[in-house]
Subunit: 545 residues, 2 copies
């Protein structure tokens, strides 16, 4: 038997496009002499469809397209994920299901049991958990269909759940495990995925065929990396990352375990590739081709710009150099060098006169109050207005250039440098931005060395440095990761050797700046805990603040 | 037996303040000769604590304060909601529980069974559902403790669930039902709440004591309205809305059904009171006292301003009148009349020079391209910069004045009139804004009649009217409600008699403007489906768009 894994880039709610893509894959699978072609979880709808699932109209469209797919299953079986309607009134209206289509009929449907409801996942919001299990017989083999999370509770050791679906299915004697997934990227996720697929293959001594989505849906990035494991747990093939792929495997080869191909895993390279795909898909799926951003001469805007150029082409990225009276001479030089390295268009617009216009308008109210953060913010907001004007006039999407360390402590101006439709680095700590810059430069200078080496500064008042108000990023990033990703409290972080007053100050800054993050663009998610939909915090709370 | 319901305004994560408030209530309950005092769901933590629940440190603090409360239970029993730790490794780490404290000990804990995971609710994200039931014996009575949603599946007719907790408890022979709730306001919710309490009292023929939170937590507003029902389902007392209250009931009186007191329910009055409380609590819980907003002379900013003045005092609301070259003469007059009616400070700042400064800076790029939405947005953004500068310099919170109809179709400028820390009217359709204006004026003119009667206009180009690009608000609001609140698809809305092309255009506008709403302030929630945390939509989706 030959099983084809179709690792595709879907578009949420775009049924026609997703369907056409699946038809093309079925055609390709047939050329590859596949008996079964397997698509991802909720493939027709795209993942995550979020509250579109609450619309009957949306579910009807999904069902109509399943009917259309059936017409193409005469000589190849199709496995795909799609919502299915709960036939009884008790419990939520939908299941998250894996369908097995063949010979024009729905031969079998297996609902998902374990509904991830943490971080970015809201599945219990929409779906009823499954309680009954089956296998489907096909060409003399019994196939267990599982949906994503259902293979992630091996031996019931995942503390989120009380059921292990594969343990329930095993008495039915399956020969093969197929898993349809939509399992998002983070820079450590590929290792976990390989491990979980391997552990299932080992525990049940069965071949496992795991297919993932690829492509970004706003902030959530799917890296692909679909996996085939031989019984016993040896990885047979880990498919390519960040690209669509359609690949057919001979079951006998997989059972024999005749190869062991995995992808390379370098944290910074993965983050780089994920972000490039994230930018590319954000623009493509919204129907835009051009980006604009402010270039300060600093490292964040330089890295954002280089990544955008790789995603969209340098000619499609517009740089705006907007020096103020506080900008150092090298700011414009470094930004110009970057733009020239990339070969992208740019404009230079000074903002002092704009700033002065506001100061003069505000003078009757401000009188002789001293220059403070207000005036710093006015500069950032003048830039925001210029960038948005260019964006509006010429149809660019403005990219936000803030990094995760800044976003965490609120080091940024709402409606100023926090403007933008997509936050490119909002899930990348400053130290990783440095690493990304070096990685981008590995085959030659793209980002000017001076942008990497000079002390970070917002340049909003004379001789300002980030280090005036923030600790060294090496220390800050460690404390932030302990709090944000690892969810450690102040006592635990202090016990790890960090200075108590600093820890309290940083955690307080994180919590009191929730209001800024609430109004900031979605940030491409590359860690297991990004700001945005996966981290839900009260604004008016008073905890550690 | 005398049962005291303590309907309090908690602050998320502010354990010390919540604890002190509960101590005061215990003191008052003793004065009222209560045997039991009942607080709300997750009272010590405030509701919803959101991802704070994922921090062990946060849970430990909650447990420490339960220990502190125990010291005050020698001569009165205390019922409260708080998280409790799941003792077994399987399943989520926490339960959402009701505690019964007496004589210095935790006498009984009942976990919540039905975990709301829809709209603003994310309970399955944090909590394991309960599967075991008990009653607690106190002074010769058996008491059933239930947590909020657990009484909302009468006869298993709520399609979200498969279990009816009270049906499970009844074989244990309870004499009294106590329900600790955190059930947020919407303008129709009080009727549903009374109905559900009454139905429980009737079905089980038991007295029901239902206690709710009061007060706002960012966008979520709790209206109080705690309820006591006599067996058989006659409402004995519906407690006050939008205020804290501590009230003790003699069980025998409740069983005898000797009174029937309910609150008046007028939709616009409820929305008015909810928003005033929402503004008041947003400021108080963040430690601010002063608001600022732009006054255009139009109805949205006028209503926002009047509501803010009622919440904070007119002297604490600063108005900014910022006419442009396109502002009509009456704009400033109407805004000034409003400010004078309210007795609030205001400033007039013209924006033409600011606009001209931007135009001149942009001229090298814009060349002779015609005036379009770009220039409209620049005006709105100049106002945004001025408002934020005043906010920063003087410590005001900027209020966003957009209504729900505009938010829905994207009629507003990101980083312009969409600036602000709190959206006051973001869940109020335009037709209801008119009704609110009339309600505010019921005892004398606050909002100038001209602001109510003139045709709505953004005044960003010559002779602009909202009706140039939008249908009549009476029609628009109906279509929006069908789509947003009722989740009807285009076919269903058209079948209700709305013009097909218009319906498609409006639904498309709603969906393509998700990116704007993503970056807009939290909106005080007064309907059963507000934009924000309770409505989760993809940005890059392509459905009806």
């Amino acid at each position: 038997m030959r099983i084809c894994l179709a690792q595709l880039n879907y578009h949420i709610g775009n049924f026609e496009s997703n369907f056409q893509k699946m038809l093309d894959a079925i055609h390709e699978a047939k050329l590859q002499k596949a008996d079964i072609v397997v698509f991802g979880e909720l493939a027709l709808t795209g993942y995550p469809p979020r509250d579109f699932l609450e619309f009957e109209d949306f579910i009807q469209r999904s069902e109509e397209y399943i009917q259309k797919l059936l017409a193409h299953t005469a000589d190849v079986a199709v496995v795909l994920g799609a919502p299915s309607i709960n036939p009884v009134p008790e419990g939520k209206d939908l299941y998250n299901s894996a369908y097995f289509l063949h010979e024009g009929k729905i031969q079998f449907v297996q609902h998902k049991t374990l509904l991830p409801t943490y971080d970015i996942f809201d599945e219990y919001r929409y779906f009823e958990p499954n309680h009954s299990f089956g296998v489907v017989s096909f060409k003399g083999k019994k196939i267990a269909l599982t949906v994503c999370e259902d293979i992630w509770n091996i031996g019931n050791e995942n503390p989120l759940y009380v059921t292990c679906p594969m343990d329930e299915i095993m008495p039915l004697g399956p020969d093969i495990i197929i898993n349809v997934s939509a399992s998002p990227f983070d820079h450590n996720h590929a290792n976990e995925r390989l491990s979980i697929v391997s552990q299932n293959a080992k525990r049940y001594n069965l071949p496992v065929f795991y297919v993932n989505h690829v492509g970004a849906q706003t902030e959530v990035i799917f890296d692909g990396g679909s996996v085939v494991s031989s019984p016993g747990g040896r990885i047979f093939k880990e498919m390519v990352y960040f690209e669509e792929a359609i690949e057919t495997f001979e079951l006998d080869d997989v059972v024999a375990g005749s190869q062991n191909i995995e992808q390379e895993k370098n944290k910074i390279a993965l983050i780089h590739d994920a972000i490039v795909l994230g930018i590319k898909d954000y623009f493509k799926k919204l129907g835009f081709t051009k980006a604009i951003l402010g270039l300060s001469g600093g490292i964040d805007s330089a890295v954002t710009c280089a990544l955008a150029a790789r995603a969209l082409g340098g000619e499609n990225v517009m740089g705006m150099l907007m020096p103020s009276q506080f900008s150092s001479g090298h700011s414009v030089d470094d930004a110009r060098a970057l733009a020239e390295n990339i070969g992208m268009p740019y404009h230079i617009v000074t903002i002092q006169e704009l700033f002065d216009s506001f100061e003069s308008k505000l003078k009757p109210m401000f009188k002789d109050l001293p220059f403070n953060v207000t005036e710093e913010n006015i500069q950032a907001r003048c830039r925001g207005v210029l960038l948005m004007a260019m964006s509006n006039k010429f149809g660019h999407i403005l990219l936000n250039t803030s990094n995760k360390s800044e976003m965490a402590v609120g080091y940024g101006t709402l409606y100023g440098d926090l403007c933008g439709g997509l936050s490119v680095l909002g899930d990348v700590y400053k130290m990783d931005v440095f690493a990304l810059a070096k990685y981008i430069n590995k085959d030659g200078e793209v980002i000017p060395l001076n942008s990497i080496e000079k002390p970070p500064s917002a340049e909003l008042r004379p001789n300002q440095k980030d280090s005036d108000s923030l600790p060294d990023y090496a220390v800050l990033d460690k404390i932030l990761k302990l709090y944000i990703e690892d969810r450690k409290g102040p006592k635990e972080i202090i016990a790890l050797g960090h200075e108590a007053a600093l820890v309290k100050r940083i955690l307080r800054l994180v919590n009191i700046n929730e209001f800024k993050r609430y109004q900031t663009a979605p940030a491409l998610r590359v860690s297991n805990k990004a700001f945005g939909m996966g981290r839900r915090m009260p604004i008016v709370g008073k905890y550690l603040s």
